[in-house]
């Protein structure tokens, strides 16, 4: 790889890394034809991990970090003094293919700063995806960042070649958007997301290909005063109204040449982790946004215990739950029991009466679950009601610090 290209890669990978999404999952299983290249496995593959513990799955780069927008939280805002670079369409295509052939990546995640106009930028992004698919028979994963300000037909063209489209909400409230991202328009973002959601549903019904791995978004946590409760309510709304596959929560991270109107210090990374857990409660554990709010204090989730445990501690009268009898819905409420463990319990108890040792073989979260469970040989006498129960279940502080 020549020096100029390497220099561009350095700048444009650095500029793209603040997008938390790296998933290469949910695409339908497929493999390239005879002379083609690439496949998707359904589950996605992480090809490496960087020392921040995050996975490297896709080649995540910007087409350019030149940008006409001036979003305060963004390293690429037009008033920032970072170094700028721009790839050509062919350079991105070649880089993707060459990395892919060496099994470094699952595919490409391409985004861009806005140059000339949103339409112009969107067209360039689509040209990369189209060239990979058409000219090179590339069947690997492609995630394109859609530009909500681009014309709707361009966003729709992108969906023909991408496995996933995403539009970042970034800031959860209209007021924050106005203050921190003056060129962005909350209504336009919402409309574009709804448009993509509709097209995905239609294409599925008509067995056409359109962003088959769904669409997702990212919100920045800690750049404004929005509470966890408000973030979760916003996510619940997005899952319901535009059929999002995922919301990514990205703890605001200090950036080189940061803006003066941002908070000087990042939020604890644990906050991001708790938001993901609460998000899972919504999607896989039949919690309502109200119940998640109920698990928080003053709208903020506890950092030292997970939200499901927080909810259970507030509702001790509903526990303990009998592993041998309780409905799935109630087993899902038991702290420490994951959805998969619950399914295994339900299958196993058809054939055997479960004792505590048995449960230990079905979940790795028995320590947290114990005070809330009844098994054939176990009854948490008094334990459920102990005042110091919370203190007993708090994760040790060494695990709290991610450093």
């Amino acid at each position: 790889m020549d020096e100029t290209l390497a220099k561009k890669l350095r700048i444009l990978a650095d500029a793209a890394k603040y997008d938390a999404s790296c998933a290469s999952s949910a695409a339908p299983k497929r493999a390239a034809g005879k002379d083609g290249l690439g496949s998707t496995t359904g589950a996605g593959i992480c090809h490496a991990y960087t020392p921040d513990g995050r996975c490297v799955s896709l080649l995540k780069i910007l087409l350019t970090n030149w940008c006409l927008f001036d979003c305060a939280y963004c390293i690429n805002r037009r008033s920032s003094n970072v170094r700028r670079a721009k790839f050509t369409v062919e350079e991105v295509v070649n880089l993707t293919l060459n990395f892919y052939r060496r099994n470094y990546i699952e595919g490409l995640f391409l985004s861009s700063g806005i140059i000339k106009s949103p339409d112009h930028t969107m067209e360039l992004l689509t040209r990369v995806a189209k060239s990979l698919r058409r000219d090179h028979g590339f069947a690997g994963y492609i995630h394109l960042k859609s530009i909500p300000e681009a014309s709707p037909w361009l966003i729709e063209e992108a969906g023909l070649y991408a496995d996933r489209l995403s539009i970042n909400v970034e800031l959860p409230t209209e007021a924050s958007l106005e203050r921190l991202a003056p060129e962005k328009d909350g209504a336009a973002i919402q409309n574009a997301m709804a448009q993509i959601g509709e097209r995905i549903v239609e294409a599925k019904a008509e067995k056409r290909r359109f962003s088959p791995a769904g669409h997702s978004t990212q919100v920045i946590v800690g750049a404004d005063a929005t509470t966890d409760e408000a973030l979760i309510r916003k996510s619940a709304h997005l899952y319901g109204s535009v059929g999002l596959k995922r919301v990514y929560y990205s703890a605001f991270s200090p950036i080189p040449d940061g803006s003066a109107i941002l908070p000087p210090k990042p939020p604890p990374l644990q906050r991001e982790h708790r938001l993901y857990q609460a998000d899972w409660l919504l999607r896989y554990y039949q919690f309502t946004p109200d119940e998640v709010a109920d698990a928080s204090e003053g709208g903020m989730l506890a950092l030292d215990i997970d939200p499901k445990l927080a909810w259970a501690l507030k509702h001790r009268e509903k526990f303990p739950v009998d592993v041998n009898k309780a409905d799935r819905e109630w087993l899902l409420r038991v702290p420490g029991l994951g959805a998969r463990a619950v399914d295994k319990i339900i299958t196993a108890r058809r054939h055997a009466t479960l004792r505590l040792d048995d449960v230990a073989r079905l979940t790795s979260g028995l320590k947290r679950a114990r005070p809330f469970l009844v098994a054939a040989d176990h009854r948490p006498v008094g334990l459920t009601d102990r005042l110091d129960l919370r203190a007993r279940l708090v994760e040790p502080a060494t695990q709290l610090s991610l450093f």
């Binding site: 990978a13 593959i45 090809h47 490496a48 513990g53 008033s79 003094n81 063209e157 040449d257 479960l354």
Partner: protein
């Protein structure tokens, strides 16, 4: 690949040949008593699925319980061979989850794997058909964990294996060296075939190698790390990417090591960057937080920012240029067929999509249906030249049957894909009355399916609010498809509709 099965030999046999070597010792059910010696089963090294299967079939058929079997592995070919002439035992009918688990556990390096699997099969065949559902059973639990370990090993091999590009007489050749924890080379290879089908590649491991020549997969002897090609021009670039995508403000070594244990690092070029990245991380983060915000050094691009907000096509011509250069949603059409007629026309007609003739000529309503429409318009007193004619969908969609291109109705999704253009187009033309010809036009204008027969006549399209009047009638191609006897009456009704359209048009123009 190994073809022959395992040998079932008893120690007893070796000392004192039994009268029926195929039968082995009598099973407990046959009153064998305590005196019997364990059966020793010899399997090939690695993942000997075939050998295990043959042995398990025979052992079950003979009623030999797990505690009476000793499993051993040998790579000495002398011990196989002559005995393979034994008649193969009948296949076992096992529940699906059991059959699925066996190949997932066989590659495990734990020498107990065969015995554990046989114990599972035994129990399943002796009254515990649903054993696999009891995840809390210690045996099932252990086998599940072994299968999970194999799954993880496979996943890591798919993820962390790195090819190096080399060139030889036959051209490009990609070579990788990998050290899996278990005997998974053969289980892992199909993934690489599906993904790198068009490439020539070899994967070398300490236990064996796999080679793909773009058509056939072959397995060979163990490889040697030293035989890897020297370097690769893209490894430095990849390391550059790896360094740049790392965020020093989020350093979390524990999470990295949990997912990418150190044992894999020496075969991954990018990991050479890790020590330096970690050393510098804290300093880089502090510098970012402590650094005073800077003032922009570049001039504010005020004009570019203003121009950016102004990207929408400003004229019908500009919009048409976009439509013209966009590819059809469903491949096949020769060209986009644009609307036709004067901008500012009082009446706009919206049809479904171009047909065969329209697609060839690039003009709307020039085929048989278009000619019928012209005739009916003339009879109703509408000047076609003064009206605007367009279609909801701008590209012809068809199915080829011999030499003919048979029209295919656009799907609802396709119609909504094109509706952005129709919307803007009608905004530019700004007619006073929009006539929807047929169901597709109605769908494009209302966003929902409306039965034509009931809605026929004046209609309010919500999207126009009250600025533009609406009217619904049939598409002329519908008339062409009717049987002759019905045609005349339907045509008359169509002309009647158009007369009302003409009348409304005159009122609106006045």
């Amino acid at each position: 690949m190994m073809q022959d099965g395992a040998v079932v030999a008893t120690h007893q046999e070796a000392a004192l040949p039994s009268p029926d070597p195929l039968r082995g010792p009598p099973s407990p059910a046959e009153g064998g008593g305590n005196a019997r010696a364990p059966q020793s089963i010899l399997l090939r090294p690695g993942a000997d699925l075939t050998g295990f299967r043959d042995a398990a079939r025979r052992l079950i058929a003979e009623g030999i319980p797990p505690e009476a079997v000793a499993w051993a592995v040998t790579d000495s070919p002398g011990l196989f061979g002559t005995e393979t002439a034994q008649a193969p035992a009948a296949p076992l009918a096992l529940p699906k989850p059991v059959a699925a688990l066996i190949p997932q556990v066989i590659p495990h390096r734990d020498p107990e794997r065969y015995g554990l699997l046989y114990a599972l099969i035994w129990r399943v065949c002796h009254g515990e058909r649903h054993l696999m559902e009891v995840g809390s059973d210690p045996l099932v639990h252990r086998l599940h964990r072994m299968a999970k370990a194999i799954g993880r090993d496979l996943h890591k091999m798919h993820a962390f294996l790195r090819f190096r590009r080399a060139e030889d007489a036959a051209g490009e050749h990609f070579v990788a060296w990998f050290e899996p924890d278990h005997h998974i080379l053969e289980a892992a290879a199909p993934f690489f075939v599906a993904r790198f089908r068009g490439m020539r590649w070899s994967i070398l491991t300490p236990e064996g190698s796999a080679h793909w020549d773009t058509e056939t997969l072959t397995y060979g002897p163990p490889g040697d790390r030293a035989s890897l090609p020297e370097g690769d021009g893209f490894e430095a670039g990849w390391q550059t990417y790896y360094e740049s995508t790392f965020n020093p403000a989020r350093t979390n070594l524990k999470a990295m090591r949990a997912e990418m244990p150190k044992k894999y690092w020496h075969n991954m070029p990018e990991t050479a960057a890790i020590p330096a990245l970690v050393r510098a991380a804290a300093g880089r983060t502090d510098a970012m937080i402590e650094r005073e915000p800077t003032l922009p050094t570049r001039r504010e691009p005020a004009r570019a920012v203003a121009a950016m907000a102004d990207q929408d096509p400003k004229t019908l011509e500009a919009l048409n240029a976009i439509i013209k250069r966009t590819e059809p949603l469903v491949p096949g059409a020769t060209q986009a067929v644009l609307g036709e007629g004067p901008s500012g026309a009082t009446i706009a007609f919206v049809g479904e999509q171009p047909g065969d003739q329209e697609d060839r000529q690039g003009r709307p309503f020039v085929g048989p249906a278009g000619q019928l429409l012209s005739r009916a318009m003339a009879e109703a007193g509408i000047d076609r030249g003064a009206s605007y004619l367009t279609n909801a969908v701008k590209h012809f969609k068809f199915e080829e049957r011999g030499k003919r291109r048979i029209h295919q109705k656009p799907t609802a999704g396709e119609v909504s894909h094109y509706r952005w253009w129709l919307d803007r187009e009608l905004d530019f033309v700004a007619p006073k009355l929009v006539v929807a010809l047929g169901a597709t036009a109605v769908l494009a204008l209302t966003g929902k399916a409306v039965p034509i027969t009931r809605a026929r006549g004046p209609f309010r399209f919500d999207r126009f609010e009250d600025r533009v009047q609406g009217f619904i009638t049939v598409h002329p191609s519908y008339l062409l498809r009717l049987p002759d006897e019905a045609k005349e009456e339907a045509y008359a009704a169509f002309v009647d509709d158009l007369r009302r359209v003409a009348e409304i048009g005159r009122e609106l123009a006045a």
